[in-house]
Structures are given as structure tokens and as C-alpha cells.
């Protein structure tokens, strides 16, 4: 825009501004509209309807009945819901730091000029784009209790009393976390790699000349420069963790028992399997508010640190 100031005044600036603005608004909207119609009816409107449905009792037949806060009272006393909430937090509490650490570690290792670096990056990213069903099926077999390769491998180190992984109430969630981390670290590694490109090399050189060890350089140069990336990655990773569903559906289907059932799956079960749409919507609203508030809190924390 500013670059235009040197250009000779154009005819259209002399026209009445209002008409030009109206024309611009119209053309602007024609660009957005084809996408916006779909986006509004399939994203914005559903989110609004969700707020209504969460206060109703509805089994998909007949009309939805307004029940006020009844769904939320039910949530307070629903022990399955409590467990499901706990499972979701459990998954997030391990998945977020593990993936963050693995992604950053990989990015630091692969942020250099060396032969084969493209190959290693490709390998790390590959699990992220392959189908959840295929990897879940494969990992389930790898995790097999008796003859699965993972337990065979652990057996080599003399472990006995090996976990049954996906068929054990204690070990199913760790198994899911391992696969989730394995799958997603490559994606976040890419984001970190892009962030590392923005770290000025002169800063590193200056620090090196000052005698900073590589660990000190990492703490005092790399990490501060990576702050915006780390922030973005953490936000995305948090949302990803709270909405985890497909992987769990295929790997354990929430089981054994409800030991790996997470919030999103409870929404799915109450809604699509038990036709309890009102209650499912209330659960969905909880998921919605967790994700929104986590994002807002992280955003504010980031703002404060920036000052």
C-alpha cells in the first residue's frame, strides 16, 4: 500500500469513495462466498446449534426438549464422565510434553547441513500422513501380549511379567500415548524446523565467541528465538491431544472397559451410538470449552511473557 504513494493519483480516487467501497465490498464477498456458504452452514451454524442442544434432551426423534442445566447436573454425577475426563487429561499430560520434546529434539538434530538430512526429515514426518487405521492395526499387532514383537524385544532384556498393552487396563493408555507421539512428532518437528530457520546465525556466533557452551547457547539463544514457534506448537498440540479420537477408536475402542475412553469418544458414543444427542452435546460443550480456554490461557501467558 505504502509503495503506491509515488504513483500518480488514479482516476478512481476521485470518484465518490462510498460507491467504490460498496463495489469493493461486493467483489470481496463474491470471492469469499463460495467457501463461506459451506463454512457457515457446516462449521459456524453447528457450533451455535451445539450451545442450544447442550441444554436439551433429545433422542433424534421428535423435538428437542429444553431441560436447562439438567445435562450438566447429570455430568457432575456421571462417574463414567469423570473417568473419561481423567483419561483425556492423562493422555494430554503425557502426550504433550513427550511430543514436544521429541519434536524439538528431532528438529535440533536435523537443523543442519549434512548428507541425508532430507531423508531423515522425511522418515520422521512419514507416520503423520499415513492412515490411522493401518498404523493402529499394525501397532496393535506389534503390541500383542504373547508373541508381539515389542514384548519379544523387551523379553531380550530379561523383562518378565510383560504388559498385555492394549488388553490391559493399566497399559492400554500408555500404548496409545506411544503411538500418538510416534505419529505426531514429525509434524511438529517440521514446525520447529521452520522456526529454527528464523534464529539468526550471528547470535550463535557471538555467543560462541563469548565462550558459551552449546547447552548455554541452546538455553540463551535458540530457545528465546524459538518462543513464537514453541507457543504455536504447544497450542496446536494441546488441541490435538484433547480431541484425540480416531486412533483410540481403532486401537482400543476405548477399552478395555473404559480405560482409554476419552471425551471425544464419549461424545461419539452418547450421540451416534446411544442417540442421546442432548447429553452428548453437553459433553461436546465441555470439550469445546476446555479447548477454547486452554488456547486463551496459553495466548494470554504468551502475551505477558512477550512484554
Amino acid at each position: 500500500m505504502a509503495t503506491l504513494s509515488a504513483a500518480p493519483p488514479r482516476r478512481r480516487t476521485r470518484r465518490p469513495g462510498a460507491r467504490l467501497r460498496r463495489r469493493n465490498t461486493f467483489i470481496g464477498w463474491t470471492f469469499i462466498l463460495p467457501n463461506f456458504i459451506g463454512f457457515a452452514t457446516l462449521t459456524l451454524v453447528p457450533v451455535l446449534i451445539l450451545f442450544y442442544l447442550g441444554f436439551t434432551s433429545w433422542n433424534a426423534f421428535g423435538a428437542a426438549e429444553w431441560v436447562g442445566l439438567a445435562n450438566y447436573e447429570r455430568l457432575l454425577n456421571d462417574r463414567t464422565f469423570h473417568r473419561v475426563l481423567f483419561n483425556t487429561l492423562y493422555y494430554a499430560a503425557f502426550h504433550i510434553p513427550l511430543t514436544l520434546g521429541a519434536a524439538l529434539g528431532l528438529a535440533l538434530l536435523l537443523n543442519r547441513k549434512m548428507r541425508g538430512v532430507a531423508f531423515f526429515r522425511t522418515v520422521a514426518f512419514f507416520p503423520y500422513i499415513t492412515s490411522i487405521v493401518a498404523i493402529a492395526v499394525v501397532w496393535n499387532m506389534l503390541f500383542s501380549a504373547e508373541t508381539g514383537p515389542i514384548n519379544q524385544f523387551l523379553g531380550l532384556f530379561g523383562f518378565d511379567d510383560l504388559p498385555g498393552w492394549t488388553v490391559s487396563t493399566t497399559w492400554a493408555m500408555p500404548a496409545v500415548i506411544i503411538v500418538g507421539t510416534w505419529r505426531e512428532m514429525g509434524y511438529f518437528m517440521l514446525l520447529f524446523l521452520a522456526g529454527l530457520q528464523t534464529v539468526p546465525t550471528e547470535l550463535h556466533e557471538a555467543a560462541r565467541v563469548d565462550g558459551a557452551s552449546s547447552w548455554q547457547r541452546f538455553l540463551n539463544v535458540t530457545l528465546p528465538c524459538l518462543r513464537p514457534t514453541t507457543f504455536f506448537v504447544t497450542v496446536m498440540l494441546t488441541i490435538e491431544s484433547f480431541k484425540i479420537l480416531d486412533l483410540i477408536l481403532v486401537m482400543t475402542n476405548g477399552g478395555p472397559g473404559i480405560s482409554t475412553t476419552v471425551l471425544a469418544q464419549y461424545v461419539f458414543r452418547k450421540g451416534f451410538q446411544e442417540n442421546d444427542f442432548g447429553y452428548a452435546s453437553a459433553v461436546a460443550l465441555v470439550l469445546f470449552f476446555i479447548c477454547i480456554s486452554v488456547t486463551v490461557v496459553q495466548f494470554l501467558a504468551n502475551k505477558r511473557r512477550e512484554r
Binding site: I32, G116, A124, F126, I129, V133, L191
Partner: protein, 298 residues
């Protein structure tokens, strides 16, 4: 930034031992070797599930779970790759998945890049608020509003048709967001010059901006195609008829129905991953670059 140099006393300059990058000290050679060894081990570990999948798909059923693991299949059972087509509805699944992936990709790329032009190159009241609504939905998990969405699509008579997935995936905020980030990096002067030359906004989009956005378009095409191909939850909710199943739904149902046919299940898994692997390797450069740009400036 200046912290590093300010808070410590000035030192006499002594070039560090590794100052000359062209000649490596033994320590550096060892470090480099260790790095390669470490990375190779890590890569092998990451790829292991895929390697095991491919190996198992070439075994007889009893050999999949032998103790110890048999790393080279003997005999190599190529016939698994023939049998799977007879045992399952692979052809139907792949056809459906292809229809959806191509259709969604086309719609997403077209409407997304079109809308992105409006957001990036046009100026009108309400534009930024509207874009904020797009970006804001990224923080809203799909699982939260899948129920109202299902109700809308059912009322429209689209559930249990391929159209449901088509419209569900085609208008996501992601394409708009990704393309807008890229368009923002195309200098404003180009479109201004075109405007002065009398080109309409639509022609500027078609003749200037789209041809310049190759890498971003490629990224969007690849990502949308891959996401649609791999989508499990959408088809699980909407496509109830067996004739409409996608490869993900089909494979999962096959795996639970024939749960002792380990080798065949692995064969099906390989087939479901193969197209993605090929597309990914072909467009790998764009992928890596495009995700990095899309992810960061937000």
C-alpha cells in the same frame, strides 16, 4: 538479544578450537559419526512398524507371529496381494475413496484459494473479523460440533451418501488459511499494476495470483488429498452402506471380521498406505515447505 554479550565481562578473543569448519578435529568426526548412527537408529525405529507391516504382508498367516521374529519371509507369499481383492471389497473401497479424495481436493483448492484472494488482496469492511472467525475455528475441535453438523446434513438428506463427506471436508478453514498466508507474501504491487492495466479482480486471481502460488497450491492439494484418503471418523459417521465404505472403514471392518488373517490384514494395510506413500514421496519437498509456512505465520 544483547543479553549474552552484556552481562559478562569482555574477554580477550581466542578463536575456539572448532573455528575452522573445513578441517575437523577427531572429536568432531566422532560427534558426526555418532550423529549419523543415532539418526539411523531413530529412523529405523520410526520406520519399523511400516517395515514389519510390509514383511508380514508377504508371509503366510502362521509366520506373522513366530518367536523369534522372522525378518525375511520364506516363502514370499505374493499371493496375499491377489487374495485380498477376492476376500474383501477393496475395489469398491478404493473407488469411493478416490471419488471423495479427488472431489474434496478440487472443491477445497478452488473455494479456498478463491476466498483467500478476497481475504488477502481485497479491502472491505468486516474482512478481518470474518477471517478471525475462520482462524478461530481452528481451536474448535471437530468432535465438539460433529453432532449438530450431522443433524444438518441428515436433514438435508445427505447422510449415507458420498455427498456428505464431500461437503463436510470441502469447505474447511484450513485451505483458506494456508492460501491466504501465501498470497500475503505476493507483493501488492503486482495486483495494483494489474488493476491499473484494467484487469478485473477475478482475472488478477486467475492470471496472476494463482499461477504464482504453485508451492502453496501443491501443498494444499497434497494435504487435502491425504487427509481425505486417511479420514476415518467422517466416513464412520456418515457412510453406513457397505457400498459407500472408504478404504479406512473397509480395512477396519476387514481387520475385525477376519481378525486371525494377520497376513491379509497387513496386505490390506500396505495397499491403504501405498498411494499416500507415493504421493508423499513425489511431493515431499512441497509438503515440508508448505506446512512450515502454513504453520508459522498464524
Amino acid at each position: 538479544m544483547a543479553l549474552l554479550t552484556l552481562d559478562r565481562p569482555a574477554k580477550t578473543f581466542t578463536p575456539p578450537a572448532d573455528f575452522r569448519p573445513d578441517r575437523r578435529t577427531p572429536g568432531q568426526v566422532i560427534a558426526r559419526v555418532a550423529l549419523y548412527v543415532g539418526l539411523s537408529v531413530a529412523s529405523a525405529a520410526i520406520l519399523l512398524p511400516f517395515v514389519w507391516m510390509v514383511i508380514s504382508s508377504l508371509k503366510t498367516n502362521n509366520q506373522v507371529f513366530t518367536v523369534p521374529i522372522q525378518w525375511i519371509p520364506d516363502p514370499v507369499v505374493w499371493s496375499n496381494y491377489v487374495d485380498i481383492w477376492a476376500t474383501s471389497n477393496m475395489t469398491t473401497w478404493i473407488r469411493n475413496t478416490l471419488i471423495l479424495s479427488v472431489g474434496v481436493t478440487f472443491l477445497q483448492v478452488f473455494t479456498g484459494s478463491f476466498a483467500a484472494y478476497g481475504f488477502s488482496k481485497m479491502r472491505f469492511p468486516g474482512r478481518d473479523v470474518l477471517f478471525l472467525a475462520y482462524v478461530g475455528t481452528i481451536a474448535v475441535p471437530w468432535q465438539a460440533y460433529m453432532i449438530p453438523q450431522y443433524i444438518i446434513l441428515s436433514r438435508a438428506g445427505l447422510s449415507n451418501t458420498l455427498w456428505s463427506i464431500l461437503v463436510l471436508q470441502a469447505f474447511g478453514a484450513f485451505g483458506v488459511f494456508l492460501m491466504k498466508q501465501y498470497y500475503d507474501s505476493i507483493p501488492e504491487e503486482l495486483s495494483e499494476a494489474a488493476r491499473i492495466d484494467g484487469l478485473s479482480e477475478y482475472s488478477i486471481w486467475r492470471r496472476i495470483v494463482v499461477p504464482l502460488s504453485g508451492p502453496a497450491l501443491a501443498t494444499l492439494v497434497l494435504l487435502t488429498f491425504v487427509n481425505t484418503w486417511n479420514d476415518y471418523l467422517g466416513p464412520l459417521i456418515y457412510l453406513r452402506d457397505r457400498d459407500l465404505w472408504t478404504i479406512q472403514i473397509g480395512l477396519n471392518s476387514f481387520a475385525s471380521q477376519y481378525n486371525t488373517e494377520h497376513a491379509l490384514i497387513m496386505t490390506g494395510s500396505v495397499i491403504s498406505v501405498l498411494p499416500i506413500a507415493i504421493i508423499f514421496l513425489a511431493g515431499q519437498r512441497y509438503f515440508v515447505q508448505g506446512i512450515a509456512t502454513a504453520g508459522l505465520k498464524g
